[in-house]
């Protein structure tokens, strides 16, 4: 009951007019930042930190968290409507989300995405409230060997992400892994594949690749068909999901919350992992998995929920230990520190008012965001009614400027264009691009986990089966691999053959 009192106290603080206003500004700024491709939540938060110097700690944290969540919500908007992932967690949303837009169901997709995000976020916060201390201890048990095992499973799952067969997707994953090694090796400082180009020292960023392969690739493919697209008159009914769509979304949303919450605890790129883990689970569970990739609502509901739940649980190790687990929590920590709040194991007990008002503001933020986003759905859909012939040059320009804005680098623009051409090529060759991009994002983590583990064990591979967690996970990954290979090689079932003949 003590917790309930604290929570109520937190709400009392968070519901002050000033704090609601700050939360709103944060969410608004975050949504804008998320919608605009290129400028991600980190940049948005970092830009506003100096502006928070004059505020009290609670208000500042509330505003900055608002930006963070807002960006998450906003990122899905461009993914669904324009096939441009706003940030790494939205890559998976593009796959089915954009196809839904092409079928005229874009509004429904946006709605379900917002709805699922809200549920995932809210349930995630509840989980955070009750389980934070316990889970923080659990999270530290995941050291690099455990992470390697988890990522191994993730990569095998990634193989079944695409429309093509496992064996067709696997080389794309390899390609992504190779591209991911470009840049400076964090462990030794050696330069890999950079050929002296300064802009490559830090590796190839996610933004030029994703915007290029998805956004520009899509534009190039579309212009091939025809520049005159039928302008679809949008009725209100189409903005809202149909009954079957709503019904179909419940399962993915519940599962997505669980998956996302669990994976978010793990250090590293949790959002990305959670979104595609949810996608592959939904695909497996669906009655007609071959339809994934053509615009199934489950492919949007699950991942969007999962990545919001993951953002909540990603805060747990941070709040429980005071150690930032990724760039996002790092920036939050800075914000807290500037205002004299030191997150750590004693944070909750020493500064209850900041913690609980933060929790309360997370709820409020989620509510504000869903209120903000639903009407925005209508506005965005109307934007799409602009004729494609006018729209696509603007989208190209935004991609270019968005990429340039990150690092002021022309080299990255070249990467953008190259990935655009590659995305176009791969689409025509019918190879899946999403696994390629996802492999670029999490490949380096896999490699580092592997090398760290071997360095720790002085070369012994036993470290990978040493703890119960790793042993279980490695066995699971082995089983998954065998299962995938078997499924691809076995004689086709009737419906699969019928599909191929279409």
């Amino acid at each position: 009951m003590d917790m309930l009192n604290n929570l109520l106290e937190g709400f009392r603080i968070a519901l002050s007019l000033k704090n609601i206003y700050l939360c709103f500004i944060g969410c608004l700024w975050g949504t804008m930042v998320g919608v605009l491709p290129g400028i991600g939540p980190l940049a948005g938060i970092a830009l506003l930190i100096p502006a928070t110097f004059g505020m009290d700690a609670t208000g500042a944290i509330i505003m900055l968290s608002g930006i963070y969540y807002g960006a998450m919500y906003g990122g899905s908007t461009t993914s669904i409507l324009m096939n441009i992932p706003g940030e790494s967690a939205s890559v998976v949303t593009c796959i089915d989300g954009y196809q839904m837009t092409r079928k005229g169901r874009g509004g429904a997709a946006l709605f379900i995405a917002a709805w699922g995000s809200w549920i995932g976020g809210t349930l995630g916060i509840i989980g955070l409230m009750f389980l934070a201390p316990f889970l923080a201890n659990f999270a530290v048990k995941f050291g690099p060997p455990e992470m390697f095992a988890v990522l191994l499973i993730a990569f095998i799952l990634l193989g079944s992400l695409g429309k093509g067969s496992f064996f067709k997707t696997v080389p794309m994953i390899f390609l992504g892994l190779l591209v991911g090694t470009i840049g400076m090796d964090p462990l030794t400082g050696a330069m890999r594949f950079t050929h002296g180009i300064k802009d490559l020292y830090d590796g190839i960023g996610f933004i030029p690749v994703a915007m290029g392969a998805f956004g520009i690739g899509e534009i190039l493919t579309s212009t091939e068909e025809s520049l005159v697209r039928a302008v679809h008159k949008v009725k209100l009914r189409e903005l809202l999901p149909s009954r079957e769509e709503l019904r179909a979304s419940w399962g993915p949303i519940i599962r997505g919350t669980g998956i996302g919450f669990f994976i978010g605890l793990l250090p590293g790129s949790a959002h990305v992992l959670s979104s595609f883990a949810s996608y592959t689970v939904e695909k497996r569970l669906a009655k007609r998995p071959e339809e994934f990739g053509t615009g199934r609502i489950e492919g949007v509901a699950g991942p969007e929920t999962a990545n919001n739940a993951a953002s909540q649980s990603a805060m747990i190790p941070f709040l429980g230990l005071g150690i930032p687990t990724g760039p996002a929590t790092a920036v939050m920590m800075i914000a807290l520190l500037i205002h004299g709040v030191r997150p750590g194991p004693l944070f909750i007990s020493e500064q209850p008012q900041v913690f609980w008002s933060l929790v309360a503001s997370m709820y409020i933020g989620n509510v504000i965001l869903i209120i903000l986003n639903l009407p925005l759905v209508g506005i965005f859909i109307n934007l799409l009614r602009v004729p494609f012939r006018i729209l696509f040059p603007l989208i190209l320009l935004i991609c270019l400027i968005g990429t340039y804005a990150v690092n002021s680098s022309t080299v990255e623009l070249v990467i953008l264009l190259t990935c655009g051409v590659m995305g176009y090529l791969f689409r025509k060759l019918e190879f899946d691009v999403a696994p390629f991009i996802l492999a670029i994002i999490i490949g380096p983590t896999l490699e580092n986990a592997f090398r760290w583990s071997l360095m720790r064990s002085a070369g012994s591979f036993a470290i990978f089966v040493h703890s119960p967690i790793t042993a279980v996970l490695i066995t699971l990954s082995g089983l998954l691999l065998i299962w995938n290979v078997y499924r691809t090689l076995r004689p086709k079932r009737d419906w699969e053959r019928a599909l191929e003949e279409e």
Binding site: G143, D202, L321, M333, L337, W452, R456
Partner: protein, 326 residues
């Protein structure tokens, strides 16, 4: 004739003084960017942002910290050395910069920039590191720890935030001073290095007080020693290595650097600002409450300090490379 030359000369000098002075008086007229070569959230970042939040009131223009992390400071250092020398893009200098440079040189590579590409403005903090172990280990003090390490040489491991970074070198210095052998397992940053020791994936870690003390207080870690000569104000119960008879000390300084050709009036103004920040109570609180130590060295002292340290570090690196640390 003489008089004419003299008066013209006098006029020229006067103009220079006035414009030079007004140059400084005009600076800064727009926001200043502070490049932090380390990732966000680390001890350096906190100190840099503390500096920024006080400096911007003194300078009258916003001071914005921008993270350009990568390669234990090399990326940010390169960006900083190549920035326009107009005083609007400064670099958070730290011990990582000369360390990075010497590492490249010892390994036979040409570093992308050198110390002489910068004008050191001064330091604002200089802190030793703490040696921490997981909280539930049996060691009661450093002596127990050393005994265990001697009993199994080469088997105990420590995590660090990156090769030759602030969490690596003090550990090496300590190990050599105490005659011990450890495995070094670098992670990508201070955060993962700390999680590794909290989660008992490694045996110990060496890190800034600001990063470790909260975990010590929260009973996740135990601090066995300060690798330095003086006890920390924030942790008066932790003995120093010098006290315990081990000749190991290492300090991480954090300060400000400007690109080489920055005009003198701007540099002077920055030096002045730095001095004011270091004496500012709010700044001192922000740094010392988490446990780090404020320490002021002016530009020339810093330059000399870096000289001396580089020689020591180069020697250490040479030994490390010989032993195959790579």
């Amino acid at each position: 004739m003489h008089k004419r030359i003299m008066s013209i000369g006098f006029l020229i000098v006067l103009t220079l003084i006035v414009t030079g002075g007004s140059f400084a008086a005009d600076y800064p007229t727009k926001p200043i960017t502070l490049i932090n070569p380390m990732p966000p959230g680390g001890a350096l970042d906190i100190q840099a942002r503390a500096f920024a939040s006080v400096a911007d009131k003194i300078l009258g223009q916003p001071v914005i910290v921008v993270n350009k992390a990568g390669a234990t400071g090399m990326l940010g250092g390169t960006a900083g050395s190549q920035a326009a020398p107009d005083g609007y893009t400064l670099t958070v200098g730290s011990v990582n910069i000369p360390n990075a440079l010497e590492w490249e040189i010892v390994n036979g590579r040409k570093p992308p920039f050198t110390r002489s590409d910068f004008i050191p403005i001064g330091t604002f903090t200089m802190s030793p590191t703490l040696l921490v172990v997981p909280a539930d280990t049996a060691y009661k003090n450093l002596a127990d720890f050393i005994a265990d390490a001697k009993a199994r040489p080469g088997q105990m491991a420590f995590s660090s935030g990156g090769l030759y970074g602030m969490s690596h070198l003090p550990a090496e210095i300590f190990a050599r001073a105490a005659g011990l052998k450890f495995r070094h397992v670098p992670s990508g940053g201070g955060g993962p290095a700390l999680t590794a020791v909290v989660g008992k994936h490694v045996d110990f870690n060496v890190n800034y007080p600001a990063n470790t003390l909260p975990l010590v207080r929260g009973n996740k870690l135990k601090a066995l020693a300060v690798i330095g000569a003086k006890r920390l104000k924030a942790a008066p119960n932790v003995p120093t290595t010098k006290e315990l008879g081990i000749d190991a000390e290492y300090y991480g300084w954090v300060g400000l650097m400007a690109p080489l050709k920055t005009p003198k009036p701007v540099v002077d103004k920055l030096k002045d600002t730095l001095k004011k920040v270091v004496e500012n109570k709010a700044f001192i609180d922000m740094v010392e409450t988490p446990g780090d130590e404020v320490h002021y060295l002016n530009g020339d002292e810093l330059a000399k300090y870096m000289e001396v340290e580089s020689v020591k570090i180069a020697k250490l690196y040479a030994e490390m490379v010989k032993e195959g640390a790579k």
